[in-house]
Structures are given as structure tokens and as C-alpha cells.
């Protein structure tokens, strides 16, 4: 007798789900290609193909189970990690964000200069008879008027224009002035256009009613891959590190650079540039101290409570219910609440102690505060796991030792603690690794501070590696994603080694 039968309902559900997913993904892929995001389009197309093949054929049963998970993991975890790893060998920072071709376009756009006289005209924005964006310019010195678009310029006779009281042309044949709502909408777009003036000169709009004469001074030669400044005659060459540099003066670079591969320079910088390696070493030491002290204090307090409550005493259930509250609370709320309590003025801690300590302005007080808050957040976890483990240690061991004349302290130090450490070692290591990257606590409590912002200091006294790196990558006006990626790789190696050691201990990998 067959107990298990394929049901037609299941097949129907499968087909419907598959159709919906594929049509949604298909629409997305098409949209991606249409907007020039071909990499994303290709990724989605591969996902569609994989879905179709997996669920419509019998090629691989395991694939049917893990394909959706793998697609999500690939898109939002693996690809970003690979991207970050790649960026660690790139110069990728403020001023060097875009690709080379975009950078050339930008440099060309910026490489203009007003004409020597600084000529400007009063102008009105609108459209010409073809509907193209146009300006109607008035030269008040010579009483001449013209309409200019990006393609051509038409000079007008005074009798073809309507003037206002100041002598500025407000309207003309073949010109339709923008009304005020059109103007606010289009002025920004128009400011990027170059309106025809004469020969090498063109007009740029400035605000709503002024046009200035400019000329292109920087020119790019794609054959030699160089820029030349027509006024000064200086040539700028690709320095192979993401910038065009004056061939005679290394300090003179064009403002817009691009992300360029610089191989191991970011890593070399980490090791040799004292401005970077100095703070990095300090931050690294504090990270290790912070994680170690956190694990030690949390474990010690948790274990102490576990031992104290190891016997059925009155009120044990009540104690337990209260003691695990910090662990049950959303940690984010707790951190913010502690942040308020540590405020210098009116904060509950200073009020309680009768002090006026600037907790977050003094490096040592800030570090102490971070450790106290983390102790509060984490000791219940170790209380829970220790009390579970204590019951797992056979009581015969302690009894036997007691018969042999050991006192309770000796039993604890020689028997209970070693056994407990053996059981909990993987959890202690996991907790160390977790706190090594405990971004939320640092970021939300102290922001990594105190730090000397005015002195340009990036690393704060309580910054751990991950919050420090976050600041390098995203904080402030000088962001350096390349360098941050290099530090990420470093953190990854450290945490992976710690965790692998922990995994070895728990022997999870043996099952493969």
C-alpha cells in the first residue's frame, strides 16, 4: 500500500507560485535592462532560469529545498561581501566614487572659465518655436537682443522684442517665456545646458535671470588619455591611481577622480601610515580589552547568581523572573535608556551617586560606562546558561571530593569551575566574537566617543574596530570606503579565526 501519494492540489499550488514568482522576477529583469542596470538584470535572469529548471524538472531534489534561500543569500549577503572584498584593493573614497568615464565627463563639465571680461546678460528662460529650451538674452549696453538654444542663436531686431521698464526683453517672436511654476521646475535642468554664443564661447544660466559667457578650457584627448588646459597649457595625465595629475606638479590634480585599483596600498597604509596604524592599534587593543572584560564580567556575575540560586530558596522564582528582564528587553531600548541615565546633568546615575561626572566626555569614565551597560545587558544570558549547565554536572563528583575532605571552595575551584568552563567554552567564545563586533552598543551609547572632532580625530576612546570602520566608511566629510573595506577584511580574518576555533570545540563541523 502506498501511504504517500502526490496530490494534484500540491502540483497546482506549485505551478501557481512558480508562475507568480517568475512573472514578477521577469518584470523586474526587463525593467532592470531597460534602465541600464544590466548586472542586476543578469542576476535576476539567472535566478529565473534556476527557478524554472529546478521546479519544472527532476534534475536535483536538494535544489528544490534550498534554492530560494540561496538566491536571497547570494543577492543580499554574498554579493555585498564580495563587493566589499574587491573594494579593499581600490582607491574608493570621497572624490573617487565614480567610474573613469563618468569622472572624465565631470572634469570636462567643471573645466570651464568665464570670458576675460566676465560678460553677463539679463535673460529670460523659455522655449523657442520648436519647443526646445531657449533663453532670451538682452545686452543692455548695446541694446541688442538674441534667442539662444543649445543648437543655434538668432539675433533679434529691437522691434521684434517687448521690453520692460528696465529695458530687458520680456518676450519676442518665436519665444515663449516660462511662467513661474515652469521656471522653478526647469531652472535646475537649464543650468546644465550650454547655450550657443559665439565661436568657443557659450552661455550658462545663473539663477533665473542671468546668463554668463564661458568657454571650455579643459579638453580631453582620448588617444593619449590626457587633459589639457587651453589657458595655461598644462597637461594632466592619468596617474594610475584614480586621478589626472599635472605632469609638472604632483599636487595639482583635477577635482574629480574615479575608483581605481591600487592593489595592496590600502593594506600597506594600515600597516605603515602612522596616521592610520596608530589609531588602529589603539582601537584594536580596546576592542580586545572590551570584549574580554565583557565576557569575563558577564560570565562571572551570571555564574555567581547561578550558584546562589542553585538551591531552592524562598523567592527563587521571583528573583529569576526579574533577573532575566534585561535579556528579554529589546537591547536597543535598554541602551538608549542607559544613555539617558548617564547624562551629566539630571542623569539618574549622577543624581544617585551625588556626583557631576561627565560620563561620555572622559575616556575612562566612558569606557567604564560601556562596560557597566554591557554587563547589565549580558549577565542574564550567562546566568541562564550557567544554571542550566550546573544541573548537568553530576553531584557525585562533588560528593566524592567532599568525602575526601575537600571544602566547598576547593570543590568549586577544582571540580565545578573546570567542568563548567569546558561545557561553556564554545558559548564564551561565541560571546567574545559577538562583542568584538557589538556595533549597536557602542554606536548608540557613546557613538565611539569621546573624540577630538576639531582635531580631526577619527578614532574615539570607546570606538571598537567595527564602529571605527563604520566611521571611516560613512562618517564625516572624508569617507574612505577602500580603507574601510581593507579593515573589514582584517576584522573578518580575526573573527573567523576565533569562531573557527570555537566551532572546532563544539565539533559541529565533524558531522560533515
Amino acid at each position: 500500500m502506498r501511504l504517500f501519494k502526490g496530490s494534484s492540489l500540491a502540483v497546482l499550488v506549485k505551478i501557481i507560485l512558480l508562475t507568480i514568482s517568475i512573472s514578477v522576477l521577469g518584470t523586474l529583469a526587463l525593467a532592470a535592462f531597460a534602465h541600464g542596470e544590466s548586472e542586476i538584470g543578469i542576476f535576476i535572469s539567472i535566478a529565473i532560469a534556476a527557478l524554472a529548471v529546478t521546479y519544472l524538472s527532476k534534475i536535483s531534489v536538494p535544489m528544490k529545498f534550498f534554492l530560494p534561500g540561496m538566491v536571497l543569500l547570494a543577492a543580499f549577503v554574498v554579493v555585498p561581501i564580495l563587493y566589499t572584498l574587491t573594494m579593499s584593493v581600490y582607491k574608493y573614497q570621497t572624490g573617487n566614487y565614480i567610474s573613469k568615464s563618468e569622472a572624465i565627463t565631470q572634469d570636462l563639465l567643471i573645466g570651464i572659465q568665464p570670458d576675460p571680461e566676465g560678460t553677463t546678460f539679463d535673460m529670460r528662460l523659455g522655449t523657442d518655436s520648436n519647443g526646445d529650451v531657449a533663453i532670451l538674452a538682452s545686452d543692455l549696453l548695446t541694446n541688442s537682443y538674441f534667442i539662444s538654444t543649445t543648437k543655434n542663436k538668432i539675433d533679434l531686431q529691437p522691434n521684434q522684442v517687448t521690453l520692460n521698464a528696465d529695458g530687458v526683453a520680456e518676450g519676442a517672436d518665436g519665444f515663449k517665456k516660462y511662467n513661474s511654476s515652469q521656471l522653478t521646475k526647469s531652472a535646475d535642468e537649464a543650468s546644465k545646458l550650454r547655450f550657443v554664443y559665439k565661436q568657443d564661447y557659450f552661455l550658462l544660466t545663473e539663477g533665473f535671470d542671468l546668463a554668463a559667457v564661458n568657454s571650455q578650457v579643459l579638453s580631453y584627448d582620448s588617444a593619449t588619455d590626457t587633459f589639457t588646459n587651453a589657458t595655461t597649457g598644462v597637461t594632466y595625465k592619468d596617474n594610475g591611481r584614480g586621478n589626472f595629475v599635472n605632469t609638472k606638479n604632483k599636487k595639482d590634480i583635477l577635482p574629480v577622480g574615479w575608483r581605481a585599483p591600487i592593489w595592496f596600498d590600502n593594506f600597506v597604509k594600515l600597516a605603515t601610515d602612522p596616521k592610520i596604524s596608530g589609531p588602529l592599534v589603539g582601537v584594536f587593543i580596546w576592542t580586545v580589552v572590551f570584549s574580554s572584560l565583557t565576557v569575563i564580567t558577564q560570565f562571572a556575575l551570571g555564574l555567581l547568581i547561578a550558584i546562589a540560586l542553585d538551591k531552592k530558596i524562598r523567592g527563587r522564582r521571583f528573583y529569576r523572573a526579574i533577573l532575566i528582564l534585561p535579556y528579554a528587553m529589546p537591547s536597543l531600548m535598554s541602551i538608549l535608556i542607559w544613555g539617558g541615565m548617564f547624562q551629566t546633568e539630571f542623569g539618574a546615575i549622577n543624581t544617585l551617586l551625588g556626583t557631576q561626572i561627565n560620563w561620555f566626555d572622559d575616556p575612562w569614565f566612558a569606557r567604564a560606562a560601556v562596560l557597566v551597560v554591557n554587563l547589565w545587558l549580558g549577565f542574564p544570558y550567562f546566568y541562564l546558561v550557567s544554571s542550566g549547565s550546573l544541573t548537568a554536572i553530576p553531584s557525585e563528583l562533588a560528593e566524592a571530593a567532599s568525602v575526601d575532605g575537600a571544602n566547598p571552595r576547593q570543590i568549586f575551584r577544582k571540580i565545578t569551575l573546570p567542568l563548567l568552563l569546558q561545557i561553556l567554552a564554545p558559548l564564551l567564545i561565541a560571546s567574545f566574537a559577538f562583542n568584538f563586533n557589538n556595533f549597536n552598543l557602542i554606536y548608540l551609547l557613546t557613538g565611539g566617543g569621546p573624540r577630538d572632532d576639531l582635531g580631526g580625530q577619527v578614532a574615539g576612546a570607546t570606538d571598537i574596530l567595527i564602529s571605527y570602520t563604520y566611521r571611516i566608511a560613512f562618517g564625516g566629510s572624508n569617507q574612505n570606503l577602500g580603507l574601510a573595506s581593507a579593515i573589514s577584511v582584517l576584522i573578518f580574518v580575526i573573527v573567523a579565526s576565533i569562531s573557527l576555533y570555537g566551532v572546532r570545540k563544539t565539533k559541529v563541523l565533524d558531522e560533515f
Partner: protein
């Protein structure tokens, strides 16, 4: 008497100070939420006047769309919890029960990927979602659905490992018996594994819910719109370092936001603690 001192009293003496340490911030936040002035200043550690002004502000001040934030958090975290467990469970089943090429490699990759500090690949996630926004504004940067997608990707690693541990503990004999009766892998999954695993799936979903509810960094990067924020981002930005200004309503808000999580946690405590010893650390 000496026996009592030796055996019992010291236990109370150890626990009570820790109890006070535990309760202090919780007591303070309750006190602040009921303080009519709504300020950070502690005039007395015993409440002399109780008012619900702060709670009132929370619900009636249009600048603090507290209920919207809560709703957003519950929707995002709920969706992530359910979907990530549904997808994760299938993967965990495959990794635990089925034999295929590349299984070891897959598991090792999964482990390795989890060790990468996810906050640091943030810029890449940001760039990707920014580009997605260009052609699909509904799921790109700035939308809750985009945030959910990113969370789902991030939740996979943890959930698969947690669930795999559980699937491993279900006796293999059950599968073999079913297979002899003619069941396919898909049928074993739906008719044997899923019914057996429902309680565990629920616990992993709860952990996932709490984790997502707590998530701050991604949410703050993704959701700039006041009305699309989650409670974590909303309350953080609301207090925004200016503790003295908005302390009272913040205290009230953090209590209301924490209560559901604390209840969920306490009610599933036994299972969660078992899961903890299996090696997960709650964020």
C-alpha cells in the same frame, strides 16, 4: 541559625544587590514615563505625582507617529520572521537530510559568510538597493519591502544553522520508514518534518522577530521617511542625543515598545533558553 546563615542567607545577600542593579534602569524609565514634567531630571526617587502626560504626547503628537512606527516594526519583523523561517527550514532540511554534491562546501560557505561583519558590507547593500530603486521604486532604497528583502537575505545564515541543529536531532528512522512506504523527499518534508518541527519553527521565528525588531543600522539607512520608520529608528531619532528634551515621551514609548517583546520572550523562555545553549546569541 548558623546553618541558615551558611546555607541560605548568603544566597539572598548575593542576589539582592544584583536584583537592584537589574531593576534600577527599569524603575527609572517607569518613573520618568509617569513624571508629569517629562524631563530627564530626577527630583526624587519616589514618585510624588503620577501623570500620563507622556503617554498622551506619544499618541496625540503628530510629530511622534508612535503607533505607525509600532505597526511598521510589527509588519516588517513579522514578515521577516515568517518568510525567513519558511525558506530557512527547507534549506536546513536539505542540508541535514539529503545527500548531494557540494553540501560540505555549502555549509562551510554559510558559516564563513556569517563571520563577515555585516555592517561593513552595508555600503554595497546600499549601492545595490539604490540601483534597484532606479528601475523598481517599490522595492528599492527607502521602502519597507526593500528592507524586508535585505533582512531576509541576512537571516538565512543564522536560521539555517539553528534549524539544521534541530533537524539533525529528529531520528533518521522516521525518514527511512516513510521512504519505504514510498514517500519522496518533498513528502517527507511536508508530512513528517514540518508537523514535528512546528514548535521549533515557532521559536526560531520568535527569535528572528525579536532580532529584526531590534535592528537599527540598516533600518536607519533605509527608511528616511518619518512615516515609514520602524520603532527602533523612530525612537532613536526622536531622542537623537538630546536626552533632556524628549525624555518623558521617549521613556513612555520605550516601555510600550518593549512590553510585547518581553511578553513574547518570557512566554517562550524555556525553548529560547534551550536554543541558546545550542549556540545562538541574541542581538
Amino acid at each position: 541559625m548558623t546553618n541558615w546563615l551558611k546555607n541560605v542567607a548568603w544566597r539572598h545577600a548575593v542576589v539582592i544587590p544584583v536584583l537592584l542593579f537589574t531593576l534600577f534602569p527599569l524603575y527609572m524609565v517607569v518613573l520618568s514615563s509617569l513624571n508629569p514634567s517629562g524631563s530627564l531630571q530626577v527630583t526624587s526617587f519616589v514618585p510624588n505625582k503620577i501623570s500620563f502626560n507622556n503617554f498622551d504626547t506619544l499618541f496625540n503628537n503628530p510629530q511622534i507617529p508612535f503607533l505607525t512606527w509600532m505597526k511598521n516594526s510589527v509588519v516588517v519583523a513579522g514578515f521577516v520572521a515568517v518568510v525567513s523561517v519558511a525558506i530557512g527550514a527547507a534549506s536546513a532540511f536539505a542540508f541535514s537530510r539529503l545527500k548531494f554534491k557540494g553540501k560540505k562546501f555549502g555549509l562551510q560557505t554559510l558559516l564563513l559568510v556569517q563571520m563577515f561583519p555585516s555592517i561593513l558590507s552595508l555600503s554595497a547593500v546600499y549601492v545595490i538597493m539604490e540601483r534597484v530603486h532606479n528601475f523598481a521604486p517599490d522595492i528599492g532604497l527607502g521602502t519597507q519591502s526593500g528592507l524586508i528583502l535585505v533582512y531576509l537575505g541576512g537571516a538565512m545564515g543564522v536560521n539555517i544553522w539553528l534549524l539544521k541543529g534541530f533537524v539533525d536531532s529528529i531520528p533518521m528512522e522516521l525518514d527511512e520508514a516513510a521512504r519505504i512506504d514510498g514517500a519522496s523527499a518533498v513528502q517527507i518534508y511536508w508530512q513528517i518534518f514540518v508537523p514535528l518541527a512546528t514548535p521549533v519553527l515557532a521559536v526560531v521565528a520568535l527569535l528572528s522577530f525579536i532580532g529584526t525588531f531590534n535592528e537599527y543600522v540598516l533600518a536607519s539607512l533605509f527608511l528616511s521617511d518619518m512615516d515609514s520608520r520602524t520603532i527602533a529608528v523612530g525612537l532613536q531619532q526622536f531622542i537623537g542625543g538630546q536626552y533632556s528634551k524628549n525624555w518623558g515621551p521617549f521613556a513612555a514609548g520605550s516601555i510600550l515598545a518593549s512590553i510585547p517583546i518581553v511578553i513574547i520572550f518570557l512566554s517562550a523562555q524555556k525553548y529560547i533558553v534551550n536554543g541558546l545553549t545550542a549556540g545562538s546569541v541574541k542581538g
